[in-house]
């Protein structure tokens, strides 16, 4: 990937915001992804107040099939599956965005420093990045949440800790390819300080690849967190977390497939949505690489 087309595309994102969005809306995959995400957001925001409590048990209707009373059926404790999945959407989407933003900020700082300071700093920070890349993420996350106690917050810390290196590498590569260009020289010649060059010139011009990566990352953070929830290291029952829900209901897959499949399909749809949007963004922002 060369800098020129990316630079042009990144600039168009800023100066010509509407055209980027319009192009994204002409990308069939991205549209499917955006529609899916919109549906999920609507479900997360609007459904929980309308439905019953996700924790309310009613053993009289346990494992009952989808009906008008319970649109997606009930689980082994007679809880409403739709209500649990909608409440889980709040947790998962919140977690996905928080983790993405946290690791983005860590990665940005590390990558910018490495690229700008160069020399020893670059070497040291990139080796640090290598170390975290070689770290088996899920095992680290398991150890952290086992030690701190299993909770959603600890899952977020753990997942963010293993996902920042991608951003650090990405932003460093951007800085290295951009810092020799004329407009950076010009800014420096005009007396702009290092920090100003980084924040006003380098960062805006690196937005395109970061945006693409960030989109994929929300999905993968949700997938990892749900995996941790499934093996019992995340949010604890009876919290309606998607991974934990699949785990709780796995033994009832024959009698009540809706109970474990609905949260699993919710995970699938969410990850799919972010992947499709990421693909679309890449096609629009950087048509050369796909």
């Amino acid at each position: 990937m060369t800098a020129a087309p990316m630079l042009a595309s990144a600039r168009s994102l800023f100066t010509d915001r509407r055209s980027t969005l319009r192009k994204l809306l002409r990308n069939p995959g991205a549209v499917v992804g955006l529609v899916l995400l919109a549906l999920l957001l609507v479900a997360a925001l609007l459904l929980p107040p309308l439905l019953g409590s996700p924790l309310e048990q009613n053993l009289g209707v346990r494992l009952s099939a989808p009906s008008t009373a319970h649109l997606l059926g009930t689980d082994q404790l007679g809880r409403d599956v739709l209500s649990r999945v909608a409440n889980g959407a709040r947790l998962s989407l919140g977690l996905g965005f928080t983790v993405m933003l946290t690791s983005l900020v860590i990665g940005l700082v590390v990558g910018l420093l490495a690229g700008l300071l160069g020399g020893w700093w670059d070497e040291a920070l990139m080796r640090l990045t290598d170390i975290f890349l070689a770290f088996p993420g899920l095992i680290l996350a398991m150890a952290i949440s086992a030690a701190l106690g299993p909770s959603l917050l600890n899952v977020m810390i753990a997942v963010a800790l293993v996902s920042w290196p991608t951003y650090a590498r990405l932003i460093r590569a951007q800085v290295l390819s951009l810092r020799e260009r004329e407009f950076i020289d010009a800014a420096r010649a005009l007396g702009a300080a290092q920090g100003r060059v980084a924040l006003r010139h380098l960062l805006p011009n690196s937005v395109a690849p970061l945006l693409v990566q960030a989109s994929f990352d929300v999905g993968s953070a949700i997938l990892t967190a749900a995996g941790l929830g499934f093996i019992g290291f995340g949010a604890q029952p009876p919290t309606p977390e998607w991974g934990a829900m699949v785990s709780e209901t796995r033994n009832y897959i024959s009698q009540a497939p809706w109970a474990s499949s609905t949260p699993a399909l919710a995970i699938l749809a969410t990850v799919l949505a972010f992947n499709l949007i990421g693909d679309g963004l890449r096609d629009v922002l950087d048509p050369r690489s796909r």
Partner: protein
């Protein structure tokens, strides 16, 4: 390769190995810091809530947990240099022995998963690129999208339910049937051990037990491989030299195999290397559901009981495997693409 290239390659390999040692040292340090700054008491986790204070103290002294953390780390590293990973707080066995016992099961499962991923992903990606924007392409893209977003544990639950419980086509959890006699352990890979013991029945049994978990674990990788093969092939098929090769009348198959696939192999190889990390993550989840006695289950139990030496052992082995696979991928670049040289 240019003259003297072999020497440069050797220097490159040595430099990479030195870097790998450094990265692994960093992994131990990071793992140690993370596992020791957390406010958790491994002694209480190992002995349970009813343990008396003297018992807890005994346990701490016995396992060196009473010493300052810097000393603990120094002791750990000193032993590590002698190949000693320490003793598990949970099983009270040497961690190296534990890993030797559990690693082969994960290795066998992962290898089968990679084979499935290549057998599915490569042809699917190829067909998709050759039938660009037609039905096979659409199907391959849908497979790649769904496969990349499906939670592996749900796939595992579904696969067991359908192919084992309902249809009865394939065996359920475990490496061999409960009534089969396990072959004597030589490599730790049950299929190979069965062959070495001239026991075709157990071999077939072990192979059948590998199909479901292997397919489930390989599905994500197959999806990613489909996607990368497709895009790499599309990129290459649009190049001038492909048109030239076609124009000079070379048969289609030859163009695809000799010209296109070879040039598309670099990105495909990169994905294969990077898949290793996700395979390990997937193995943790897949092993839980298939009761697979591998390193994933060992890591999970160790983490639950705050057995940090064991967690560090697993982390090191995983980090080592990751680094070695990536080195191998970089070296294969030279073999696949004459443009790449490390001189």
């Amino acid at each position: 390769m240019r003259e003297g290239g072999g020497q440069f390659l050797l220097i490159y390999i040595l430099r990479r190995l030195a870097l790998m040692v450094f990265v692994l040292w960093g992994v131990t340090l990071a793992a140690f810091v993370i596992s020791h700054v957390v406010p958790a008491d491994p002694a209480a986790a190992a002995l349970g809530n009813n343990a008396r204070e003297e018992q807890l103290q005994d346990f701490r002294v016995k396992n060196g947990l009473d010493k300052p953390q810097v000393v603990q780390y120094a002791v750990y590293m000193g032993k590590l240099f002698q190949g000693d990973l320490g003793v598990s707080l949970r099983t009270q066995a040497p961690i190296a022995a534990d890993l030797r016992q559990f690693f082969p099961a994960t290795l066998e499962l992962t290898l089968v998963a990679v084979v499935f991923a290549v057998l599915i992903g490569l042809p699917l990606g190829l067909i998709a690129a050759l039938r660009h924007n037609r039905a096979p392409d659409l199907l391959a893209r849908i497979f790649a999208l769904i496969g990349g977003a499906t939670p592996v544990y749900w796939l595992a639950i579904l696969a067991l339910n359908v192919f084992h419980e309902r249809l009865g086509w394939l065996p359920g959890p475990g490496r061999i049937d409960a009534y089969s006699l396990a072959p004597p352990v030589r490599t730790g890979l049950v299929t190979i051990d069965a062959l070495l013991a001239h026991d075709p029945e157990v071999f077939v049994d072990a192979l059948r037990h590998l199909i479901l978990p292997g397919l489930v674990l390989g599905a994500f990788s197959a999806a990613l491989l489909t996607r990368m093969t497709r895009s790499a092939m599309l990129e290459v098929l649009g190049q001038d030299y492909i048109r030239t090769a076609r124009a000079k009348g070379l048969p289609g198959g030859r163009v695809v195999w000799k010209h296109a696939l070879r040039n598309a192999s670099l990105p495909i190889l990169t994905v294969l290397g990077s898949l290793f990390g996700s395979l390990l993550t997937g193995a943790v989840l897949t092993e839980t559901i298939f009761s697979w006695p591998g390193i994933g289950g060992y890591a999970t139990s160790s983490a639950v009981s705050l057995d940090f030496p064991a967690v560090m052992g697993v982390t090191l082995v995983a980090g080592l495997a990751y680094s070695l696979v990536n080195l191998l991928v970089d070296l294969l670049y030279v073999g696949f693409d004459p443009r790449v040289s490390y001189a």
